[in-house]
Amino acid sequence: MADSFSTKPTPRRKFLDWLLGTSVGGLAAAVLYPATRYLIPPRAGESSAATVTLPLKPDDIAVNTGQIFKFGNRAGLLIRTSNNELKAFSATCTHLGCIVRYRPDLGEIWCACHNGHFDLNGRNVSGPPPAPLEDFTVNVRGDQIVVGKRT
């Protein structure tokens, strides 16, 4: 009897171990997969609008000042330069995502978080930002300002 047990015990035991192991693994996966997916937020619909009409009149923005506006769910920065030219950029700093501002004393766009400077073409000129700000088109139609993404 003892011999018959010792000669062929492994395949069946291995099979049972395998069965048990896979079911425990399967159970763990069945618990962890939904829990992990639960933690990943659903993708919000990106604002598809390519242009936005600002709630500002061209006269509202003085020479050598800047103003933050909403572009969908993002922030934009509208500037009237000292040459009386309207320019618009994405206001999200390319470094670590703070909202930038216009500095009339420097005539530059500046990020307060890590001291990043951009010129009036959106180019990153000093400090840590690694890339230029996205620039938008600005069109004045009567007393409306329309800002759009460049295509």
Binding site: L39, I40, N73, L96, C98, G127, P128
Partner: protein, 364 residues
């Protein structure tokens, strides 16, 4: 048979049911070595005491706080202005958090310098470094909860830093923020992490840490071990514990003074469509990292500056964690001055960068 006092009878009753007497015997057997570095033994207990204060005041804050972008700021404002002693509870919570992280850093650095991480206390060290990470996570998530301007931008920057990591960065950023941007979804996430996930994890790990400290006893610095003369020690109970209590009482006095004279501020409500305020800065314990990132150029060795910085700090943290494994000499009971110098350099870097962060002109 002499009559037992009521307390003795109660104790005997309790011991028969719970075995609590074993704990008393353990405390009687425990000794604390006396040498020139004995003072550092009090820092761990002081950190634990401050953590206890955090649990109590945090619980009280939960009675009024509302975790939503629309209501969080207003609920804290209400708590500060209308609720009796609301300002005090919040100030204590805020100050005790700062003091706790301060004593935690001191505890870590002193253990590092006297090399108390030597095996078999390496596991105690690992649990301690993880506890430091948890404390920083506590600070980072708690900072956002009042939903004010400074916290909003600090969180934007902090989570964006996770986003610069290669491959997993964007995924991590979305999981942390609960979406593409810092929003009400981020607030509920940070709330859940701050009031449930971190307290449970921290309590479990503090339990392990304390059990390990009991198991191995206090580490004696190599220097003190090899010193000539008789080894001195004091009983843990009551001598060391009473000294501990004096320390806690002093911490409580400092805490009460700070909370009463420099109460926590609230600032202005967060606005996702406003420029980052001038002079924006994180909590002081993140200042050295913040300042370093600020000073790095846009590109270093062909990679983006902040990625370089984040990777460097990541490696620094990993190095700190692995010190017991890397420092072979002190593990073998030999002097290892190299690790003393590395520790001193790390501490000096943190102190210098923190001071620079607070002294340079933010608008330059």
């Amino acid at each position: 048979m002499p009559a037992m006092s009521n307390f003795a009878r109660f104790y005997a009753w309790l011991d028969a049911r719970t075995g609590v007497g074993a704990l008393g015997k353990l405390a009687k057997k425990k000794d604390v070595p006396i040498h020139r570095h004995t003072a550092w033994y009090y820092l761990g207990g002081m950190t634990a005491f401050l953590f206890l204060i955090q649990l109590c005041t945090g619980l009280l804050l939960l009675f009024y706080y509302r975790p939503s972008a629309g209501e969080a700021y207003e609920s804290v404002q209400f708590l500060m202005a209308e609720v009796q002693f609301g300002w005090l509870i919040r100030s204590i919570h805020s100050w005790a958090a700062n003091l706790m992280i301060f004593t935690l850093f001191l505890h870590l650095f002193t253990v590092l310098l006297v090399k108390a991480y030597r095996p078999p206390r390496d596991l105690t060290w690992f649990s301690g470094v993880i506890l430091l990470a948890l404390a920083l996570a506590f600070g980072f998530t708690g900072y956002l909860l009042p939903w004010n301007e400074l916290a909003y931008f600090a969180t934007r920057v902090g989570t964006q830093i996770a986003g610069v990591l290669p491959v997993v960065g964007n995924f991590l950023l979305r999981v942390l923020r609960g979406g593409e941007d810092v929003s009400g979804a981020t607030l509920t996430r940070f709330y859940a992490i701050h009031v449930a996930l971190l307290p449970i994890t921290t309590l479990a790990l503090v339990g392990l840490h304390v059990v390990l400290v009991q198991r191995h006893g206090m580490s004696i610095p190599l220097q003190a071990e090899s010193a000539k003369g008789p080894k001195r020690s004091m009983p843990f109970f009551p001598n060391f514990l009473l000294r501990d209590l004096v320390g806690w009482l002093a911490a409580l006095a400092i805490l009460a003074a700070l909370a009463a004279f420099i109460p926590a501020e609230l600032g202005t409500k967060a606005d996702p469509f406003a420029s980052a305020p001038v002079g924006i800065k994180p909590e002081w314990y993140f200042m050295f990292m913040f300042q370093t990132l600020k000073m790095l150029p846009a590109h270093i060795l062909g990679i983006e500056g902040e990625l370089f910085g984040v990777l460097a700090f990541g490696l620094g943290g990993l190095f700190l964690f692995l010190v017991p494994v890397l420092d072979r000499k002190s593990a073998a009971g030999e002097r290892s001055p190299v690790f003393t110098w590395i520790a001193v350099a790390m501490i000096a870097f943190i102190i210098v960068m923190t001071i620079v962060g607070y002294t340079v002109d933010p608008s330059a």
